[in-house]
Symmetry: C2
Subunit: 139 residues, 2 copies
């Protein structure tokens, strides 16, 4: 483990933490909790996801997901569909309303924050390329 790697990670963490307020703020614009907005973001329209898989993505207990999805479902942003072939599984699908809200949230959250937007164009491009390489294979 190189020093560069660990320092880069620490800086990346610090950068994210400095933007800690963004998700809650954007979520609030849509009257959603931060977690609800996050989950909505994770659900790709047209690609149903089993609850269990979502729990794994969130690194949290399955019982936790039940409540979060309950509240998203009450707002009509998400639906629980049956899975073909396995009656235990419930597939999460984004409704039309959900897809609309999701699109706007994704757009708002993709705006680069000041620490990145103030970098030189060359740095921005290099950063994008390096991070793209880092994320290949991580899904």
């Amino acid at each position: 483990m190189s020093n560069d790697a660990s320092e880069a990670w620490t800086l990346l963490f610090r950068l994210y933490v400095s933007q800690r307020g963004r998700v809650p703020r954007v979520a609030a614009e849509f009257e959603l909790s931060p977690m609800q907005a996050h989950v909505l973001r994770l659900l790709e329209p047209g690609t149903p996801l089993p609850m269990r898989t979502l729990a794994r993505k969130l690194c949290c207990d399955a019982s936790n997901v039940t409540g979060i999805v309950d509240r998203l479902e009450e707002r009509g942003l998400v639906r629980r569909d049956a899975a073909p072939g396995d009656r235990r599984i419930k597939m999460l699908v984004v409704t039309e309303d959900g897809a609309s809200v999701r699109r706007r949230i994704v757009k708002r959250l993709s705006e680069a924050p000041e620490p990145i937007s103030s970098l030189s164009p060359a740095d921005q491009r290099a950063l994008r390329e390096i991070l793209a390489r880092a994320m290949t294979g991580t899904a």
Copy 2:
């Protein structure tokens, strides 16, 4: 706003989210909640911090900080000291125990995750340098 900047930010966000489980896991090793570990990290030993300032760093309501600090104080990791010159303010200081736990948490969390450690040495170095430039002036 360039495309590179926004894509770089989106990738950085994805990378962080893919490591979402780390803080809770490390915090649990010390029997702390994620937020307690985060706050302990924010408090530099030898540098007292007013509660208010901490609330601003956390982007949350001041009343929230009261409870978090209460629990850290119960464990003897943090202390509320009087501020010289202004009796309204309470300064947070890390105790000896707190500094010891903090040191170990910081160390555990600074280990670079797979997406970064698997980058080439040149990319790791470039990433560190670019992020360092991004974070100058952000404190």
